[in-house]
Amino acid sequence: MTDPADLTLGEAAAELRSGSLSARELLDAVTARAANTEAQLHAFLTLDRDGARTAAEAADTAIAAGEDLGPLMGIPIAVKDNMCTRGIETTAGSKILSGYEPPYDATVVSRLRDAGAVIVGKTNLDEFAMGSSTENSAYGPTHNPWDTDRVPGGSSGGSAASVAVGSSIAALGSDTGGSIRQPASLCGIVGAKPTYGLVSRYGLIAFASSLDQIGPFARNVGDTATLLEVVAGFDIRDATSFRGARPDIAGGLTAGVAGVRVGMVKELMGDAIAPPVRAAVQRTIDLLDDAGAEIVEISMPSFDYALSAYYLIAPAECSANLARFDGVRYGLRVDGETTETMMGRSRAAGFGPEVSRRILLGTYALSAGYYDAFYGQAQRVRTLVRRDFAAAYEQADVLVSPTAPSTAFPIGAKTADPLEMYYQDICTIPLNLAGDPGMSVPVALDDDGLPIGFQVMAPALGEKVMFQVGAEVERLVAFDSRPALATSEVTLP
């Protein structure tokens, strides 16, 4: 019999309803998997054993009473530690929030609870979601379950690693420049960044407000859509929340790709992409072609400037968003003679180097005399990126590319040079600038046995066609590998 921790969300939900599996048994299996893997992975910062048990028991009681709490009833879900959970430590991977217990739940967390989910814990991340490897966590890095000497990607590396290894069935991450899609790619699972505004940001500890978006991770495309359906929708607490009717998300999962126009982005298939990744993406495009899709090559000239624009806009917003961490009302305080000194010391001691670097960069980009040349110009480039996307979607229904320029790299390989790390996001960043949805679907392993992700992009509110193409890619490539760590029996001493 399959270990319940290896069930997909859909399979687990069916078993829970049929009575062949209890929520408590499912939670126990997932908890056991965490116990067997956390020492090597460090996917979690906090495991909420009591809360999870209570939620699982509530699910079992509901099932016994014939009630249906919703699609996530009894499903163990992991939540990235930059989403507030009432009374459960929420650190955003930063020392400055060590021990901080929010007095409220993020909207997505409330929606998970309302849908019957069992929140198992809070996952590791690059501090304040700033990074592409989860090495910037103040609490130590997360390791890749396919090769624990390598990074899981980031910044939602903990969520991705947990879903990949089975210490949760699905998870939430956040994506500002690729922080869901890139770790999904590096961990061999599915991850989606929805249209900006589709999922409420209330309770998400902000990195860059105009770019941040919460999204789902799961082990297949359908499960990813299911989790997104639960958390998406208008929220009065977020003024940037989309006010229209929620778009169809899962309606095209079995529709195939016959007649769908698939645009291959030329600029994202160049020399910056590792050859095995390029080859795997090309093979996938060929499969789509065979399946009846119409393949078109599309040029997005502004993409060459997207990374530069992003590394001005995101730090500028973060420099203001992180100003509230000042040692006055919560979080770390380092004493000083005056409040000014106290603030300066608390912030210097509480933020790690990458966060400090971005705060300084953003402060500079916004300061008098430089605003127009840097921040203002970056915003104009953002307009050009949006125009490129708009033109592209005249010719194509979806765009495709690699998710990341390479497979998982060794821990420590890129920490010395910030710029080299920033290049990890070249394929994912343009979407965040545009606010459009995108997802990563695993399509192959490279020669080192490391997963390769395939990115599907769609116009704003085009989640339906994105998941439609994603599901067909999944069916065509039939990727069914699991990391060794998930399948090997590890017993702790």
Partner: protein, 102 residues
């Protein structure tokens, strides 16, 4: 073109009390990043409006309703230092009044 940055001034604006070595290191790294970021200036953008927001939305309001506040004990529980019902901080420098020079 190397970017000239008064890193100490930037750190002060950002309220980060950094050591001399840290300032030097961050200054150099920022120089590298900004040199790369300067690429954005190469792109002709005359007449291109800036995008500050990805959503084509306006007038997102809430109605004027009181929806409640937090319990003060919960609020002050997170405070690094509190004094009775207040948050407490060291002496604030801010602005000082000098003697009359009128």
């Amino acid at each position: 073109m190397p970017v000239d940055i008064d890193i100490a001034k930037v750190a002060k604006l950002a309220r980060l009390e950094l050591s001399a070595e840290e300032l030097e290191r961050y200054g150099a790294q920022l120089g590298d990043i900004l040199e790369h970021a300067e690429r954005v200036q190469a792109l002709p953008t005359e007449g291109v409006p800036p995008t500050s927001h990805p959503l084509p939305m306006t007038n997102a309001f809430r109605s004027d309703e009181v929806t409640g506040s937090l319990d003060r004990d919960d609020v002050l529980a997170a405070a690094p230092d509190a004094d009775g019902p207040y948050f407490r901080v060291p002496k604030i420098l801010g602005e000082e009044v000098e003697g009359d020079n009128g």
